[in-house]
Symmetry: C2
């Protein structure tokens, strides 16, 4: 059999033109340990947009060659993307679908509905190593399994990281996201206090409905005071921040320090003995991170948090335990909500692209290539 | 015997007036495991100035009550020092001198010349636990032993930290300092490549004379390019930064990332797989730290580095090994240079205070209370 299908590609040329197009590609027969999956659901995550659109200026959208679309990347932003210049890149971190062909060592997967991770999911078919797919539980749809890797493993990874680094409670920003809701459910189940930072009452309400008790709105005038109280009550000394840019991370470290010094008996000009950790895992704000160290002493750390390096460090046993939990709680703890399901070709329609590119809270797109 | 002596004190009152004065205090007899040391040498380190002067406005210097001096702390800076308000604080992290009285369990120390750490060294006498003193080797003067803790253990601690976190070469800023020279000597002896960042040709020359091979001047127009080359040659992925504020730390992380991506075969929008660590151990610039994460991906960490938390984490065996090396190499690797020796009362003279407060490179003051 020679299976062919469409595959979405993003290419940034040397002249700064970024083109998104659908290419017809030959899928190829599966190797002994591979399967070919018909993609039926693939989410559009912020992390996918980073590769899809790169540093392009969205307002420059025009129609491109062969039915594609094109953007201009401002000269000043090209340096950060130098490594991808001239390469046609497949997009889509994760997805789900039905196995239509399986190699001889994994023939038991034939016909199974599976979730999968590994890139190039915005396509009709994906040939993939069997170890990178997970059969879905009975009754779960492709949409149920489309986001079973990145968000669930990230949320579980936050709790694992907090525990292994000796923290007893967690702070999370942009906390009403799908990921944030999963994290809140995990923390409730596991008895880990969680301080949720949101930017609107609407977001606070989403979290309240799933049982969140510590919710702080960064738009309120006494945000820092409210946050400090929540940190003192919970003892949270580790934060996972999706925003990254500006002063939010600094505000969190400062509030942690204030909460810590409330109980200090002796002055130290190096600040409290409480170690405060800020992990930046997203870039909702790409501006520089500004850390006013004077406000939080010397006992602090910050850094990037990425899922795959975390999984490598955590080791096979931990990862196997995490994956099993995701399957068990796929339609409860790890349920994702999508506001719109589109076909693969629709992902290139200007109005639709502008909508999912906005990354509005609560809005989440799912691509189903079988829709066209 | 009732021994009395002078002790330098710094007091920040609620109204924002910071007073420095010499108090006459009763030293008290040593406990069973204590000694009383006549202080003969105590360095003025940047870390001492932080406690001595707090956030005072130096230009506001006036004479204070009882022969002391006084400063005004601007209202906006009082919040950061709230923990010390109203407390009379003794100053001086480390020093050296002669044991004039010893408790019954440590009588072998009587008459010995020792180095010591523990604060309150700007005084005629210091009563101190015997475990916090180290007898000086034969022939070493009090000046030789005055700085045998903070700088030597910090320099050794950098190398220990780099090794234990899996880095094979080190970057250091403000690298021509006494501490920086010790670090360069250790790195040469231990075969650890060191990239020195300085701000003048004069500083570069100081390091060249002790055998430094990688020296980059941050004032030169192609600083980032030179730094990137040095990082590629050495493979340095950990930096210890005395400056803290502004964009120097960012420049280092960015150059590490550029050096790493030079050898990457595959593009990743999360940046290179190379983990880059920046430790901030000083505050020569108290401005906020600005981190432009776009330029160095997600594989990075930064944080405060402080000697005492490091020593606690390193454990007794490591610390004992480090202390033994300091004694062995006290007048070679760990030799400190002082440009001026002053009496205790002179530390309060306005012109002298303004000079040591400037923290100019190469300039270092030693207090010898026996001079008056």
């Amino acid at each position: 059999m020679t299976l062919t299908g469409r595959e979405l590609r993003s290419t940034l040329a040397e002249d700064g033109i970024l083109t998104i197009s659908l290419e017809n590609v030959v899928v190829g027969d599966p190797g002994d340990d591979e399967v070919v999956v018909r993609v039926e659901a693939a989410p559009i995550n912020p992390s996918d947009l980073g590769l899809l659109l790169g540093p392009a200026d969205i307002s420059s959208l025009t129609s491109g060659a062969g039915g594609g679309i094109a953007f201009t990347v401002p000269q000043g932003r090209l340096a950060g993307a130098i490594g991808r210049l001239g390469q046609s890149m497949a997009v889509g971190n994760e997805g789900a679908g039905t196995v239509v062909a399986a190699g001889r060592n994994v023939s038991h997967l034939e016909g199974e509905r599976v979730g999968m991770i590994g890139g190039a999911m915005y396509a009709d078919y994906r040939r993939i190593a069997a170890r990178d797919v997970i059969p879905l539980p009975e009754g779960a749809s492709a949409a149920d399994g489309a986001s079973m890797f990145v968000n669930p493993l990230t949320a579980l990874g936050f709790v694992e990281t907090a525990r292994s680094e000796g923290h007893k409670a967690i702070v999370h920003t942009a906390a009403a996201s799908n990921l944030g809701q999963m994290l809140q459910k995990i923390c409730l189940a596991d008895g880990v206090p969680l301080v949720n930072i949101v930017r609107s009452e609407e977001q606070a309400q989403i979290l309240r409905e799933i049982g969140a008790t510590h919710i702080v709105n960064s738009k309120e005038h006494d945000f820092i005071a409210q946050l400090t109280d929540a940190l003192e009550q919970t003892g949270a000394t580790i934060a996972f921040d999706a925003v990254g840019g500006g002063t939010l991370g600094n505000d969190i470290l400062q509030a942690m320090e204030r909460a810590a010094t409330r109980t200090m008996s002796e002055y130290s000009r190096y600040g409290s003995d409480t170690f405060k950790q800020l992990y930046i895992y997203g870039a909702l704000d790409t501006a520089p991170t500004v850390l006013d160290r004077v406000s939080f002493g010397f006992q602090w750390g910050t850094g990037g948090w990425l899922l795959f390096p975390f999984l490598r460090k955590a080791g096979q046993d931990v990862v196997a335990r995490m994956r099993a939990r995701v399957v068990d709680e796929l339609t409860t703890t790890f349920a994702s909500r999508y506001t719109k399901v589109i076909g693969l070709a629709q992902a290139l329609e200007p109005d639709i692209l502008r909508t999912y590119e906005r990354k509005a809270t609560g809005e989440k797109f799912l691509i189903d290539p079988t829709l066209g």
